[in-house]
């Protein structure tokens, strides 16, 4: 199966939405991989952050949705700070999450979190986690 790349995939609504929400120019990324090299959660990701932004450049929404990357991201912003092209990758990750989340899909099942965990954790973990991972 070959992946089609055309003006339709490159300028799709998906790509436009990602750029609108993130306010970043995806093509500025020249795939140097420094983001992936410094990402603290990379070890648990299916696809590396630089691969995610590459897929976004190519308009491959489904591949991004199939990977767990954007949901493992901890929003630590190390990627954005080190990017030599000034691409705020953290915002691109956020945009990709929001596009999914706005379809009313949660990525953490609140009822599944053990009661003891909720009792023990600082509230900010819940507040922050629900903000990032739920619709």
């Amino acid at each position: 199966m070959r992946t089609e790349i055309s003006t339709e995939t490159l300028y799709s609504d998906f790509v436009k939405k990602v750029e609108e929400i993130s306010e970043q120019k995806l093509l500025s990324c020249y795939q140097c991989g420094k983001c992936s090299a410094g990402c603290p959660m990379c070890f648990a990701m299916d696809l590396l952050p630089n691969q995610i932004i590459r897929l976004a450049q190519l308009g491959q929404e489904d591949d991004i949705a199939r990977a767990n990357t954007i949901w493992i991201c901890a929003s630590c912003i190390t990627c954005s700070v080190r990017c030599p092209r000034g691409v705020d990758l953290a915002r691109v990750m956020e945009a990709l999450r929001l596009i999914e989340a706005r379809k009313n899909v949660d990525h953490v099942e609140i009822p599944d979190i053990p009661k003891e965990t909720i009792a023990e954790l600082p509230q900010l973990a819940m507040v922050g986690g629900f903000r990032k991972l739920t619709a």
Partner: protein, 575 residues
């Protein structure tokens, strides 16, 4: 009464305008007696048409709406004078524009109006003939300056070569071997250095700097500061016995401040950079000399057979008059400390430091050791693009030479440490020169150099090892390498002090401090000041081949200038 001709030039590349509208408008202007639209005026048939019109209509002024005046003005003025029209009465109007026809036309009409006024008001320039002093000043004694000096000197003219350090040779002489031929630069450059030192037409002022510059092409007045060496170089015979007895051990700027475990890279307070220095004369470093800092010691005084030590020596000045200047002030590397995510560690070194370690004529005689403990590193990581191609934290441009020198260093490292492994972290591999691509493939296939595509995000020490966090973007893996030594390919910057030098010369620099050429494609050797030429890395990053070519090319510009006995300058240019 004015008799002005206006020519609207078209070609396929010209900005689209409503030509008929422009013709009609211009025809009505007072003083305009001839208007026509034509194609391709800048080539002979077009120029002949203009000359025809000048003669048959008795034109006393011509406007040509065109593209770039910088590149075309001379051609048109030459044609004008051949037809009997004075050069200053031929003006080009730049009407290039990127908008729609309506806006372009408006803009063109405005430009034509303003140039018409200027043409009508123009006065003949007051020209002064300035005799050309056939002597050149070359600033910088690296390979660019050496090449330019030799070519001009061989052409029969006097060269004054000013070098800031106390030996010519620049950075090239510091390297181990040069790519792609793996020539030893000490072997290939030293003959040129010696020739420069011995040439009848070349005077070298080493350990000297440019203090003041004034004047103009044909006649520059330059004041050179000869810094105090505290050694009388006329009495000194270069035996270097003084350097053997001098007590202090100091980190050497020539050795890039490498601090090796047995102090192999240290120098004395009285020192020469290396065994092939030209001139072979030491200087005393006041900051570390015991005589200056503590009022004791005088071992060099006692040792010197010619009584050449002179603690009382002061800076002196030389004033010269030259007809042209060649700037060859070279480059420096961005300091490692600019990249804060890489630790400041003795085993994280930059390219030229590693060159000194690899160099058979260097402090370790080519034995590859790492600075912290003197052990042979079994795994070495080379990091490309440190500070380069990084508009956010460094410089946006590519430094051009790092891809090649890092792979060269990897190959040389493997040739010394047969069981070692070299890793090169890269984004792209730029191998545009002759035999460069083949060189890289040889390193990969014969010496198992492993290229990993991804920038390194963090480098830090973990016990005995250095951890490099990178990524392999091609397989999508986060990479961690524990290695013994890390070599950083730091960005190339203009030489320290280049900005001040440019200011003294009155020449333009870009936002990074590189000296600006008059036109990047077609006039790469001329600075913004006539008579001052550029050669080598002071203009932008380049390798030795291109630097040597440019040194020779700058020399040819000087030789062309010196082929004239005088130049004509407009009054304002003469100071």
């Amino acid at each position: 009464m004015e008799r002005i001709g206006v020519f609207i030039c078209h070609c396929k590349l010209m900005t689209p305008i409503d030509t008929d509208a422009v013709l009609e408008a211009v025809r009505e202007k007072p003083g305009v007696v001839h208007v026509e639209a034509c194609e391709d005026l800048c080539v002979t048939p077009g120029l002949e048409r203009v000359q025809e019109a000048i003669k048959s209509e008795g034109l006393d002024g011509v406007l040509v709406t065109s593209c770039s005046p910088v590149l075309h003005e001379e051609v048109f003025r030459h044609a004008a004078t051949a037809a009997g029209l004075e050069a200053y009465r031929m003006r080009l109007v730049d009407i290039r524009s990127h908008d729609g026809i309506k806006e372009n036309t408006e803009r063109a009409l405005e430009a034509i109006d303003s140039e018409l006024e200027a043409l009508k008001a123009s006065q003949p320039p007051v020209l002064r003939k300035v005799p050309v002093i056939k002597k050149v000043l070359v600033i910088g004694g690296g390979i660019a300056g050496i090449r330019a000096s030799l070519d001009i000197a061989d052409g029969g003219y006097q060269v004054i070569l000013v070098e800031r350090t106390h030996s010519v040779g620049g950075h090239m002489i510091q390297y181990s071997e040069t790519f792609p031929t793996l020539d030893c630069p000490q072997c290939i450059e030293t003959p040129l250095m010696t020739e420069t030192g011995q040439h009848d037409n070349i005077t070298i002022y080493a350990h000297s700097e440019i203090e003041e510059v004034s004047g103009n092409i044909g006649n520059f007045k330059v004041k050179i500061r000869r810094k105090a060496a505290y050694v009388d170089w006329d009495k000194c015979n270069g035996c270097l016995m003084c350097t053997e007895k001098c007590p202090p051990r100091v980190l050497s700027e020539y050795e890039r401040y490498l601090n090796l475990p047995k102090r192999q890279a240290h120098r004395r307070a009285i020192w020469v950079p290396h065994a092939q220095a030209v001139p072979m004369r030491p200087i005393i470093d006041r900051e570390h000399c015991l005589h200056f800092t503590k009022g004791k010691c005088g071992v060099c005084v006692d040792t010197c057979p010619n009584k050449a030590i002179d603690f009382e020596q002061e800076d002196s000045f030389v004033e010269v008059e030259v007809g042209a200047i060649v700037v060859a002030s070279g480059f420096d590397l961005m300091p490692k400390s600019y990249i804060k995510e890489y630790d400041a560690d003795p085993d994280i070194i930059e390219g030229i430091e590693f060159e000194r370690i690899l160099c058979p004529a260097g402090p370790t005689t080519g034995k590859v050791i790492r600075p912290s403990d003197g052990k042979e590193p079994k795994e070495v990581a080379f990091i490309s693009c440190c500070g380069s191609r990084d508009a956010e934290h460094g410089v946006p441009y590519c430094s051009r030479v790092c891809c090649m020198y890092l792979v060269k260093q990897a190959l040389l490292y493997k040739h010394v440490c047969h069981d070692g492994q070299a890793y090169i972290f890269y984004i792209d591999i730029r191998t545009t020169g002759k035999n460069y691509e083949e060189f890289v493939q040889r390193a990969v296939e014969e010496d198992n150099v492993l290229y990993i595509r991804g920038r390194a995000s963090k480098i830090f020490r973990e016990g005995d090892k250095l951890m490099v966090w990178g990524s392999d973007t091609l397989t999508g893996k986060r990479i961690e390498i524990a290695c013994d030594l890390v070599v950083l390919g730091m960005a190339m910057l203009p030489s320290e002090g280049a900005a001040e030098l440019a200011a003294k010369l009155g020449i333009a620099t870009d936002e990074y401090g590189f000296m600006t050429e008059l036109h990047p494609k077609l006039r790469p050797l001329e600075s913004s000041v006539p008579g001052i030429f550029l050669a080598g890395c002071c203009q932008g990053p380049r390798d030795i081949q291109d630097t040597v070519a440019q040194g020779g090319a700058a020399a040819s510009k000087v030789l062309a200038l010196f082929a004239q006995d005088e130049v004509e300058l407009e009054e304002a240019a003469v100071s």
